[in-house]
């Protein structure tokens, strides 16, 4: 007979590094039920409601990352104090100094945890120095909340809005638990004003929230996890052991995974926020439907790309002028490119110089075509933004390469538009042209994912080598027989992705008020489907080369 284990019960309340709190833990169900109960009970006591919210958010943080919760509190205190000081300060120079303090503090925190070992490694490689890497763990969500802090103090500095009056307002903005692990990156001027409003949601908000939460969880917990565990992990661990066919499908699979993971988490966060009376802008809009790379970036991780636009691209000079940052990072990039060709690809000095110069000319082309000097800095600013944006995703050369590839693609797309803009005006509406453009864009994005996902540059080049030279069409039969459940899941994901963006809204509008038992029944269907996939027999790898 099963019996209640009191020790296991008590342990549930403590942080367990092996099982950090996520939306799919059993613990989260209890956590969320209790939270909603209290939030609803005290919905009209704004202060108390806010304290409850802060407490639950910080506790969620603690259950997800242990003692690192202190960094959220610490950075909330620092930025709260600094932002108020910036706001009150009349002297422009002192104002600027305070802003610099905030930037140094936030970036310092991020750099220490995220990039220390990367720099130690780089220095060791460059100068054959023997520095030991440090044992640093990355606190959950730090990349997200440091960016939120930065946008907040910069906005206050720019005079865009008044800083939060109460510390708890700011703390809640920063620690708001639904967006903790993977965003979206919320802006304070959108969020803070919503904190002290009456708790009012419409029937449409409830239905939309339900849809976002459960479609998000479906994408993340069912589609993404299934493809990751049963296929993609195998291939990316050792690409050269597998045929090109398997590698190519692993890349397609990964394109699904990264989209479902990221957008699934964002959707769930936005849905939960909706249920609590907060509106957060959508973060992904079917990005793989984009018919060029510029459109892709308008639809992919919107909160990040708009952040990079407002706080990196525009300060660098945007599409108007260059700045120290523009020239510094461009010099680093072109220097790095030159040396990479010599050191890494063993090309001669002359050829390396030629390729580097050709790349530079590429970035200057739009300016040459339009006969405008400003165009050069626009492209270099774009490149710098994408390069640093790449680095934000993780501390390795592969992420930098990923960012640079996207930066170059954006520049090339600009040139393409300049050259063909008028000539292709008619074709742009043609479905065939659109389909080809979507396919090309998707495959370019997939090509970049190879660098994003592979742990080393060597793995990435092995993977591309296998796809190019070792494709082996002949293994398709065996491949399909073994992996058909995974392939089916990939197809399902693409079909979901192909649904037009406003389809869900139209559906919700049509149904008006759905009875509660239907919602509860849908929830249980989800739980059982989730349980089914969690306990399903794993698809084992096969080796198709014989």
């Amino acid at each position: 007979m099963p019996s209640f284990d009191i020790q296991a019960f008590l342990d549930q309340f403590l942080y367990d590094p092996k099982y950090p709190l996520l939306f799919n833990n059993g613990f989260f169900v209890f956590f969320f039920a209790l939270f909603i109960g209290l939030y609803y009970r005290f919905r009209n006591h704004f202060k108390l409601r806010q304290y409850i919210f802060c407490f639950f958010s910080l506790y969620f943080f603690y259950k997800a990352s242990g003692v690192f919760v202190v960094f959220v509190i610490l950075s909330a205190i620092v930025d709260y104090v600094l932002s108020n000081a910036i706001f009150r300060q009349q002297d422009r120079r002192k104002k600027k100094l305070l802003l610099i303090c905030s930037i140094v503090f936030n970036l310092g925190l991020l750099f220490y945890f995220k990039y220390t070992n990367f720099f130690i490694d780089t220095i060791n490689n460059l100068f054959s120095a023997g520095f030991n890497p440090l044992n640093i763990l990355l606190p959950v969500g730090i990349s997200f909340y440091t960016f939120e802090n930065l946008s907040y103090t910069i906005d206050v500095y720019r005079g865009h809005f008044e800083p939060a009056r109460r510390f708890s307002d700011y703390l809640l903005f920063l620690s708001f638990f639904p967006k903790l692990v993977m965003g979206p990156i919320v802006r304070a001027h959108d969020f803070v004003p919503q904190i002290n409003k009456p708790y009012i949601i419409t029937e449409n908000d409830f239905a939309k929230g339900f849809y976002l939460i459960f479609s998000g969880l479906f994408k993340k917990l069912i589609i993404s996890d299934y493809i990751t565990l049963n296929y993609v992990n195998y291939i990316f661990d050792d690409p050269s052991r597998y045929t090109g066919l398997e590698n190519l499908f692993a890349v397609y699979g990964y394109a699904v995974i990264i989209y479902c993971d990221f957008s699934g988490y964002s959707d769930t966060a936005i849905g939960i926020a909706k249920w609590l009376g907060f509106s957060i802008p959508i973060n992904f809009k079917s990005p793989y439907q984009g018919k060029n790379i510029t459109v892709f970036w308008r639809r992919w991780h919107i909160s990040l790309s708009s952040w990079l636009r407002d706080y990196l691209y525009i300060p660098l000079g945007g599409n108007k002028k260059g700045s120290f940052g523009t020239w510094f990072f461009s010099a680093v990039f072109f220097g790095g490119l030159f040396f990479a060709f010599i050191k890494r690809f063993h090309l001669s000095l002359f050829i390396s110089l030629c390729i580097t110069a050709a790349t530079l000319v590429l970035f200057m082309l739009p300016a040459i075509i339009k006969k405008e000097k400003g165009g050069i800095t626009t492209n270099l600013n774009l490149l710098t933004t994408m390069l640093l944006g790449g680095l934000w995703h993780g501390a390795s050369w592969n992420f930098i390469i990923w960012g640079v590839l996207h930066g170059m693609a954006l520049a090339i797309h600009k040139i393409w538009m300049l050259l063909t803009g008028k000539a292709f005006e008619k074709a742009n509406t043609n479905w065939f042209y659109t389909a080809i453009a979507v396919l090309i864009t998707f495959h370019f994005v997939c090509f970049c994912w190879v660098f994003f996902k592979c742990t080393t540059l060597e793995d990435a080049s092995n993977m591309l080598y296998q796809i190019t030279y070792n494709f082996s069409f002949s293994v398709w039969g065996a491949f399909f027989d073994n992996y058909w459940p995974v392939l089916a899941m990939i197809v399902v994901a693409f079909m979901l992705h192909a649904i037009p963006d406003d389809y869900a809204d139209k559906l919700i509008d049509r149904f008006k008020k759905v009875p509660m038992p239907v919602y509860i029944a849908l929830f249980f269907v989800f739980v059982v489907v989730y349980g089914y996939f969690k306990s399903s027999e794993p698809v084992m790898p096969i080796y198709l080369q014989f």
Binding site: M1, P2, S3, F4, D5, A8, F9, Q12, G26, F27, V29, F30, F32, A33, I36, G37, Y40, R43, Y199, I200, I201, T202, E203, D205, F206, G209, F210, L229, N233, Y234, D237, D238, S240, R241, W275, L276, G277, N462, Y465, Q466, N470, M516, Y519, I520, F523, F524, V527, V528, Y530, G531, Y532, K534, S535, P538, M540, P541, Y543, Q545, F546
Partner: protein, 446 residues
């Protein structure tokens, strides 16, 4: 109208219902797996009444003769090569160790190791580490035998290997001939080329002999480094030196389908060499197909001083397999047959490494792994071979899960294959175990 009440209704309604059926499911022992996995209270309950249905391990294992000075149970120990001698101060692999001692004391001789395995040693994993460490200690340069083509040639780091696409490949999977080499392949060609560059040589002054390993083709003309060369291959198995110089690479073209070609061997004039014979997906039983006469020809013309078998992971292809008696029965005659043909050679059987399956959502060591290792040890015991427990050496139960989770990881997330870092660890452990026996040998000789 404010619908915030709907949120509360939904959460309270679905939560109470979910909790209710979780409690009911636990108390009533409700066994529907998809629901059991998402039971809300399973984390705080003990005494789970569930049980999985599995094969029962065989009760009548192969009979292990109880010999007076032998201790079978020694097979359980990791990181040690055992010949089951109760007196653990006595060395195993005596003939081999004697040759090592000769080499170490300056005798100019060759020692050759044939390392048989499956995908675990593919791409020269593990063997490249053993080779490097043994050559550092006992001398010798060269990567040893390399098959003409290989599907994992890009994966292999110890040789840069390119070849044209037209080589015909007869192998364990498609061939009928009894004259496959230990690599499991036989190649024929009508105008194809292969180029190999040995990447293992650290001594830039070393003279490396590049030899063709081929079957009976009589007198034929081939092209070596773009020059035509006439060779005579009269025996069932021939080792024909082609070039003897400081270059690490060789290019070979063959335009005669009558010449069975196996591979090229890179060896210095003396020292120790390790030939990697990996073949994906096999268990070792496949060697039963190779003719005894052909094996004797190998023993005569390209002799081996130590033969290592490392298989097992492909027997663990279903999570609940626990019965491997049949494997023992099939493997015993195979080892005996090879031993008969190589009567001067020492034999070492290396057990499977750890492999995990998902049991109830969590990766754990295959439940049958202990039974399999016992069978593999029995084969070693019954054929007078030495035994090395790879599973215990890498850390025993669930070690592959631990290896895959480490940063940087030591194994892939198929929970089967140690990666190149992991293979380096395993190779170093095996080398240390050999050195340990060598030290015992030196001690007992004094």
């Amino acid at each position: 109208m404010n619908s915030n009440r709907r949120v509360l209704q939904f959460v309270a309604g679905s939560f109470s219902f979910y909790l209710l059926i979780s409690i009911a499911g636990t108390l009533l022992g409700f066994q529907w797996i998809p629901f059991k996995r998402v039971n809300l209270i399973s984390d705080v309950m003990t005494g789970d009444s569930s049980h999985q249905i599995m094969d029962k391990p065989d009760s009548n294992l192969l009979i292990i003769e109880d010999l007076p000075d032998k201790n079978f149970e020694l097979y359980k120990k990791g990181r040690i090569i055992t010949s089951f001698s109760s007196d653990t101060s006595l060395p195993s692999l005596n003939n081999f160790l004697q040759k090592l001692a000769e080499l170490k004391t300056g005798k100019k001789r060759k020692i050759r190791i044939a390392y048989f395995g499956d995908s675990m040693i593919e791409g020269d994993l593990l063997t490249q580490t053993v080779r490097k460490l043994l050559q550092q200690t006992f001398g010798g340069s060269g990567v040893g035998f390399v098959p003409i083509t290989s599907q994992v040639s890009k994966f292999r780091q110890s040789v840069i290997h390119n070849y044209s696409g037209g080589w015909q490949d007869e192998n364990f999977n498609n061939g009928k001939t009894g004259r496959l080499y230990f690599s499991g392949h036989l190649f024929r060609s009508n105008g194809n080329w292969v180029q190999m560059i040995d990447q293992t040589i650290t001594d830039s002054a070393a003279i490396i002999e590049k030899s063709l390993i081929c079957g009976n083709g009589g007198s034929v003309s081939i092209t070596v480094n773009e020059y035509p060369v006439s060779i005579n291959a009269p025996g069932m198995l021939n080792r024909i030196p082609l070039v003897n110089d400081m270059f690490r690479g060789i290019k070979l073209s063959v335009a005669n389908e009558n010449l069975p070609v196996y591979g090229i061997s890179f060896e210095s004039a003396f020292g120790i060499f390790v030939d990697n014979f990996s073949f994906r997906g096999i268990t070792g039983i496949e060697f039963a197909r190779i003719d005894s006469a052909f094996m004797r020809a190998i023993a005569a013309n390209n002799p081996y001083d130590l033969i290592v078998f490392q298989y097992g992971v492909n027997l663990l292809f279903r999570p609940n397999n626990r019965n491997f008696n049949w494997y023992g029965k099939a493997m015993l005659p195979v080892v005996r047959k090879i031993k008969n043909c190589f009567d001067k050679t020492d034999f070492l059987i290396v057990s499977t490494a750890d492999r995990a399956f998902r049991y109830g959502g969590e990766y754990k060591s295959a439940v049958g792994i202990d039974s399999l290792i016992k069978i593999q040890a029995t084969v070693a015991y019954e054929t007078g071979s030495a035994f090395y427990n790879q599973f215990a050496s890498m850390g025993g139960t669930n070690s592959i899960v631990d290896w895959a989770k480490r940063t940087p990881s030591l194994a892939g997330r198929d929970y089967v294959h140690p990666n190149h870092r992991g293979a380096e660890v395993l190779g170093a452990y095996l080398y240390e175990a050999i050195i340990n026996e060598y030290k015992k040998y030196i001690r007992t000789r004094k």
